[in-house]
Amino acid sequence: MKTHYLNYVAGLSLIFLMASCGNQGSETSQVLGGSAAEQAYVAPGEYDEFYAFMSGGYSGQITAYGLPSGRLLKEIPVFSKYPENGYGYSEETKAMFNTSYGEVPWDDSHHIELSQTDGEFDGRWLFVNGNNTPRIARVDLTTFETVEILEIPDVAGLHCAPFITENSEYLVSGTRFSVPIPQKDVPIDTYKKNFKGLINYVSVDPEHGHMELAFQIEMPGFNYDLARNGKGKSHGWSFLTTYNSEQEHSLLEVNASQKDKDLMAVINWKKAEQYMKEGKFTERETSYFHNLMNEETSIAESEEKTLTKILDPKECPDMVYFIPVPKSPHGCDVDPTGEYIVGNGKLSADMSVYSFDKIMKAIEEKNFDGEFDGIPIISYEAALDGIVKKPGLGPLHTEFDGRGNAYTTFFISSEVVKWDVASKEILDRQSTFYSPGHLVIPGGETKKPDGKYLVAMNKITKDRYLPTGPELAHSAQLFDISGDKMKLILDFPTKGEPHYAQAIAADKIQPNSVKFYDIENNKHPYATLGESKTRVERDGDEVHVYMTAIRSHLAPDNIEGFKVGDKVYFHLTNLEQDWDVPHGFAIQGATNAELLVMPGQTRTLLWEPKRPGVFAFYCTDFCSALHQEMSGYARVSPKGSNVPLKWGLNEKLRENEQAAHDFYEKAKQNANIGK
């Protein structure tokens, strides 16, 4: 282990030699003492103190972990279809994947934002961005299910999203890549002339959480990278880092790294709201999709939208400013008081910390250093509060502990550095393994951080765990930050590539967690509310099977009369009303997926039988002692055959609903004879 580690260090020695602060910290074997293990230990049957929600990066999903144990609680499917439970394959969830490009079954999820009330997490919803096909998704934290996806039009690479304001008024979402707006066929080297970047303000309905694209601000063609919103006194303002203010379009790693300073956008969104009210926007025709899970039917519905409202900073004075930030900033983080804004210039040797009060004063005194495309550039010196000198190499992201300290990840020097926000003094540094991207402290971006733990999410794994071939899980390290020095207490692999994560006290979510869906509220049009209502109906070559599941049988479990070429819809209602009794449904020859149906829920699988025969179907969730018996047969006859549609459960197969009703009435009487 140690040799490998040293090899790795040697491999990056050139970079490390550049670091004046090349403190590589202690070896992990020394750090993980007995007391550290105890701190991360959550005894069997006990609960973690926090939920940590990690984005999945290229998995497109979200994972929920417990802290401090690092135990994986659930993978929540969001932007990627998930055959494991039928998300994106069932008829009810297909519409979640609709976009202006058609069905897009995957995305790259980056930044988790939990809903906030008065600058604190309220545990209601979780928002996450899809990077590649610009989208924002909402997860309901009572069910841990994706319930809404909104496409963002005319942007490219929605990386700078979905950063939330302190009362969840808006999700601020900027484009990573600038593109021609509206899209048109132009030579790429006309970038400077034709390419623009949109910053989107997505409003969140305070009662239901529904998202709506409120307005877009048309900005110069930079790359908008990350953002944070003000809090407390700076509430009403957004801060967004940019890179490529060189406005280059090729070999960005060199060409977009030439300027000493790039620009941070500072947006007064209250002012923008005022301009919207005054009607100072222009409308543009476009196309984007809004997909929403209907709470009553539990069916996702898609709506295409065709208009956006755009504000132009040139027409709207005092709405947008720029501030210079040293060399290609990445993260841009606001401390719990709302006064300090940290610009992490990833190629800079120092970190610039800005003061909100000074920014306001500079704006008031018009202390500007020129302008870019009509947008005033605030003087760097006037806005600057101070500089953290030589903190490390490659600063990316900063979070806060609520005790006046900031914690910044350094990608190149592979460490987390703790520093004092007011004095800019460096207090501690600890190595991570290896090269951290984001870090998360529970509530670390809110007004009231819970500064007990810190998780660094690393981009490089190499020798941290037993090898698994060329592709490795990403590693995360958990630090106890309650003392003066950060202490590594746990190391755990994660799913996909977590970028940002947010963590929240368990007691803000646990009491509201839904155990099962109340079947009395099931308004699904194909729900079968009781075994006596099970039936099969044919409409041309469409066949609808109204099926129920309850321990330990599917009803009906014998069906005849399907024909090759039919489109068979199995509408399975789980009649259970108890916690943790899902039933599954799988049928041979299905070319899509299976269904996993929660108690009280209805889900539909389309099956298109391709050849005659008798095909088995069964419950895929080991639901009960007689789970293996929970199965049935579907008979498929050749196209044009006259085998009638018949179905049943432990009876002579029947052909109509009245027979089914009579059967169950008789069964009920039989059951009562003994009394």
Partner: protein
């Protein structure tokens, strides 16, 4: 003064007795708890004078699902006639209690006491018969058959039934019923002494 007060005491006791009887509509008579590893907190079934409820809304469905594996009959409150006529009996006894209170005679209190005591004993015997029936009258086609095994829950006490540890004890409603019986006897006693 003190004599007058004393003469009122039996009526007050009887009134309290009648009110206690009314409390059977507010609290369950019996609680049967099924404990097993997979059911944290246990499944608690409450038997009332007029209904069956439980620690969760769907308790009967969930117990029925478990019971059908061993061939027990479905518990269907609608087909248990006692849940319909027991409340009428209770209302009648409350009415008779009020009449005895107006009569304010020792024999009236004593009669009421004897009737309620007999009814209470009959109620418990009836409950026992139901438990016996549920526990012994099993479907011969049950998926799980354990030779010689029956599943009658204890009337009073605790018992292992396959994976469940079953606990059966009176609940608050029975307490009030007992209290009502004692109060009527006290009314009789005080009246007779005076």
């Amino acid at each position: 003064m003190s004599l007058k007060q004393k003469s009122r005491l039996p009526q007050i006791l009887m009134l309290l007795g009648v009110l206690s009887l009314g409390a059977v509509f507010l609290f369950p008579l019996w609680q049967i708890t099924l404990d097993a590893a997979q059911f944290p907190g246990g499944l608690k079934m409450h038997i009332w004078i007029n209904k069956i409820s439980g620690s969760e809304k769907n308790i009967i469905q969930n117990i029925n699902i478990l019971n059908h594996y061993i061939g027990m009959q479905y518990i269907e409150p609608d087909s248990i006639p006692e849940l319909k006529y027991f409340p009428l009996v209770a209302y009648s006894m409350m009415a008779i209690g009020l009449i005895s209170l107006v009569l304010n005679k020792a024999w009236a209190y004593l009669s009421w006491f004897i009737i309620i005591a007999i009814l209470g004993a009959l109620g418990i015997y009836d409950f026992y018969l139901w438990l016996y029936d549920y526990g012994h009258n099993l479907d011969p086609k049950a998926p799980i058959k354990v030779p010689g095994m029956t599943y009658m829950p204890p009337l009073l006490g605790e018992k292992d039934l396959l994976n469940f540890y079953v606990t059966s004890y009176p609940h608050l409603g029975s307490g009030f019923l007992g209290l009502s019986t004692l109060l009527s006897f006290a009314a009789f006693w005080v009246k007779r002494k005076s």
